[in-house]
């Protein structure tokens, strides 16, 4: 099932009709004989986009039952996509040669604004490889003889990977002797192994958990041995980088007012309260909220404790002056909003380590909880009406 795919201009109707034809041509449970071409694959090349059984067991893709995408069809889709991309670039007034996928996304969002909340339901235009699920090529030749030597295992790509990996291990052990300790670990930090779903997607095959565990064990064994660049590259294919969270934290610049005092501003939100806080670097610990003292504005101890939290955490209780304005929400939401704003503003005066500690303490995360909507047929968001037996 193709995701909603947009092309521009005259290609639209053609593409749509193709999709219709493709779905009409479906036959459940069949491997369509080679109406198209065979591709004699080299030993390790497995994926030819010829047709037949689609292999999608991903959760989020609806059960596409035996979609048939002929290779021609896919090729034509790719051509149409490229032409469409150039048309889109022309329409947006940009250079067709350097029109990237992000530009396409932006252009589509601009031309077809959608109010739908679910991002995957909005119009997209992507390369057909990303839209049509990868399908396995036909795996045997005209005489019925399979191409791959491990075809009869049922999961040829997986087992061939294992075979390759183990071969490398044996080779290394033969050369070096068993298990010298690996000296460099740098490539392992900041990256993670593929998860099972990603591996399945890569191999276009269904795997079981045990298969996956075996594979990871093999890779780890391989990585512990000292190996040359070819093996490194083999292992790196199965690692994905993990971004470090704290680098994403935005630090406000410090500003100076007319008297030369350093201060920084930032905003914070919680539920439906918004707050703007101005934190002065040198002060005596006075906090003024909407022009009133904070003792007056927050008579409840709990709110004042919330205000105190960022300062107390950084041990700077009497050292900063704060002026803030807040509106919306209730008393607790306003306190939370001010706390977030103050924490963000304080980031400009402290070291990076302290910023990281604050982030881990949860002071810099905006609280995503909002009031849940009331549903029909229930009394509140969760509470049901009283159940009566009759």
């Amino acid at each position: 099932m193709a995701a909603p795919c947009v092309s521009c201009g005259r290609a639209l109707s053609a593409r749509l009709s193709l999709t219709v034809r493709a779905s009409l041509a479906r036959r459940p449970g069949h491997w369509k004989p080679s109406a198209v071409d065979w591709q004699m694959g080299a030993g390790s090349q497995l994926l030819k986009l010829i047709h037949t059984t689609a292999v999608t067991t991903k959760k989020n893709v609806p059960a596409s039952r035996h979609e048939v995408y002929t290779e021609d069809f896919i090729k034509k889709q790719i051509e149409e996509f490229n032409i469409g991309k150039r048309h889109l670039a022309n329409m947006m007034g940009e250079d067709p040669e350097t029109f990237t996928q992000e530009d396409i996304d932006r252009a589509i969002a601009y031309l077809f604004p959608s109010g739908l909340f679910e991002k995957r339901a909005r119009p997209i235009m992507k390369h057909p490889d990303q839209i049509f699920p990868k399908q396995r090529a036909i795996q045997w030749g005209k005489d019925g003889r399979p191409f791959h030597f491990l075809f009869y295992t049922g999961k040829p790509s997986y087992y061939s990977l294992m075979h390759e990996g183990y071969g490398k291990v044996l080779q290394l052990e033969k050369h070096k002797g068993p298990l010298p300790v690996k000296t460099q670990h740098r490539d392992l930090i900041g990256s993670r192994w593929l998860i099972k779903e990603e591996l399945e997607e890569m191999l276009v095959e269904n795997l079981s958990d045990q298969d996956y565990m075996q594979f990871i064990r093999l890779l780890e064994k391989l990585s512990t041995l000292q190996c040359g660049p070819a093996e490194e590259e083999f292992v790196q294919r199965f690692r994905r980088g993990v971004a470090i969270q704290s680098k994403k934290q935005l630090i406000e610049p410090v500003q100076y007012d007319e008297r030369g005092m350093a201060f920084s501003t930032s905003e914070g939100r919680r539920k439906s309260a918004t707050a703007k806080a101005v934190v002065y670097e040198h002060g005596s610990g006075e906090i003024s909220v909407n022009g009133m003292g904070y003792l007056h504005y927050f008579p409840v101890l709990q709110d004042r404790e919330q205000l105190m939290f960022p300062f107390h955490f950084l041990d700077r209780l009497g050292k900063h002056d704060v002026t803030c304005t807040v509106c919306g929400g209730g008393r607790s939401a306003q306190a939370g909003a001010i706390r977030l704003a103050v924490a963000k503003a304080l980031c400009s005066f402290i070291t990076e380590d302290e910023v990281e500690w604050m982030r881990q303490a949860g002071l810099l995360t905006s609280d995503p909880r909002v009031r849940e909507r009331k549903k029909p047929g229930q009394e509140g968001a969760r509470r049901k009406f009283t159940w009566k037996k009759r």
């Binding site: 610990g285 003792l295 101890l301 004042r304 300062f311 107390h312 209780l317 009497g318």
Partner: protein
């Protein structure tokens, strides 16, 4: 008119305690033509616990060097001078700690200074203690009252005027004046407490008129004031009138100079604000229609409407603790083992308390109560 009359006589001193809402209460203290004897200023002996305590228990001797320190009031004095005057939380604290310690603060020192140096040739001075909630107005007032009690002044202390204008269970139409209402309960309580405080004066002051209570009872002219008070206490129905009589007599006789009178009203805004009392037909009663309030207003100053109407009126602002006072209070709580939290005695604990209470004495007290 009444202003002029009052001021013509011996000058009186007024004090009031006032919350930030409009309205005022004031003390009237009349003084004899004799000046107050100034006690000699001895050099006070510093107790080793230098910051938070002082051993000087006579308010007259409190000077600036004692600022921020606590002095203790002996418990018998407490019962006599303040039968009803202290705020309830403070009473609980006294009961817990076993001692009554008041902090000596700058506004109190200022007030005492004025009291000591009153010039009796001038008309009476009114002092208004005002400030935000929880800053210590009532306790400052109590400090002044203690001082006056030590110096043998007569004390007319209304602990909380708000109690007279709201939550009254019984309202009787006044026997004296049909349009007003009586509050027997409050009046009788107050009379009892007044008697406790001023025992020694009651026999000395004589009433100057004959008062007829009902067909069978009356008070002759020249009988001591104590009798009026007894009458009020025993016959609860006439309590309010008894109060009125007491106030009138004191007002009149203070000019004669036999005693010093200090009138202290806490929450004086209530005299001019609204009441929450309703008649049977659910219409609101104005403060004037309560006999107690009426008499009290006459006592203080009838046509006082706001701060503009001036006259010897000295506002004294009471603010939050300054750092020294905060430190002293903190030490006091520590010494009495009131702060049981393990982090409380540390510097950080102190900073936290400072932040959370914003140096407001009332807030600090409430905070420490949970620790």
């Amino acid at each position: 008119a009444s202003t002029g009359a009052m001021l013509k006589g011996i000058p009186r001193l007024f004090f009031r305690v006032h919350k930030l809402d409009p309205g005022c209460s004031f003390h009237v203290s009349s003084q004899a033509s004799q000046s107050i004897v100034h006690l000699e200023n001895q050099v006070p002996v510093e107790h080793p616990r230098a910051i938070s305590r002082t051993s000087e228990s006579d308010p007259a001797k409190h000077g600036e060097q004692h600022e921020g320190q606590h002095y203790s009031i002996p418990l018998q004095d407490l019962k006599m001078v303040f039968p009803h005057g202290l705020p309830p939380r403070f009473v609980m604290q006294v009961k817990t700690f076993g001692e009554a310690c008041l902090m000596i603060r700058k506004p109190a020192l200022e007030l005492l200074h004025y009291l000591k140096n009153t010039n009796f040739a001038h008309p009476a001075v009114r002092y208004l203690l005002y400030g935000e909630k929880g800053t210590g107005k009532t306790l400052t007032l109590c400090h002044a009252i203690h001082f006056c009690a030590k110096h043998d002044w007569m004390i007319l202390h209304i602990p909380d005027a708000h109690l007279w204008v709201k939550n009254c269970q019984e309202l009787l139409p006044s026997t004296y004046n049909k349009q007003r209402f009586d509050q027997p309960l409050e009046a009788s309580t107050w009379l009892k407490n007044f008697r406790t405080t001023n025992e020694r004066f009651l026999s000395k002051i004589k009433v100057q008129e004959k008062y007829v209570w009902n067909k069978r009872e009356s008070t002759e002219k020249g009988s001591p004031l104590g009798e009026v008070i007894e009458q009020g206490i025993t016959r609860v129905r006439n309590a309010t009138d008894a109060v009125g009589i007491v106030l009138k007599e004191l007002k009149r006789q203070s000019s004669m100079g036999m005693f010093h009178l200090l009138v202290a009203v806490d929450g004086v805004n209530a005299l001019w604000g609204r009441t929450t009392l309703k008649r049977e037909d659910k219409s609101l009663i104005a403060p004037e229609e309560l006999a107690l309030v009426h008499n009290l207003r006459k006592m203080v100053k009838n046509d006082w409407e706001g701060f503009d109407d001036l006259d010897p009126f000295l506002p004294i602002l009471i603010s939050n603790y300054n750092p020294k006072e905060f430190e002293s209070s903190f030490q006091y709580y520590l010494e009495n083992s009131w702060l049981q939290h393990e982090k409380a005695p540390t510097e950080e604990g102190k900073k936290e308390l400072l932040f959370l209470s914003n140096s407001n004495p009332g807030q600090l007290e409430r905070l420490c109560a949970c620790l």
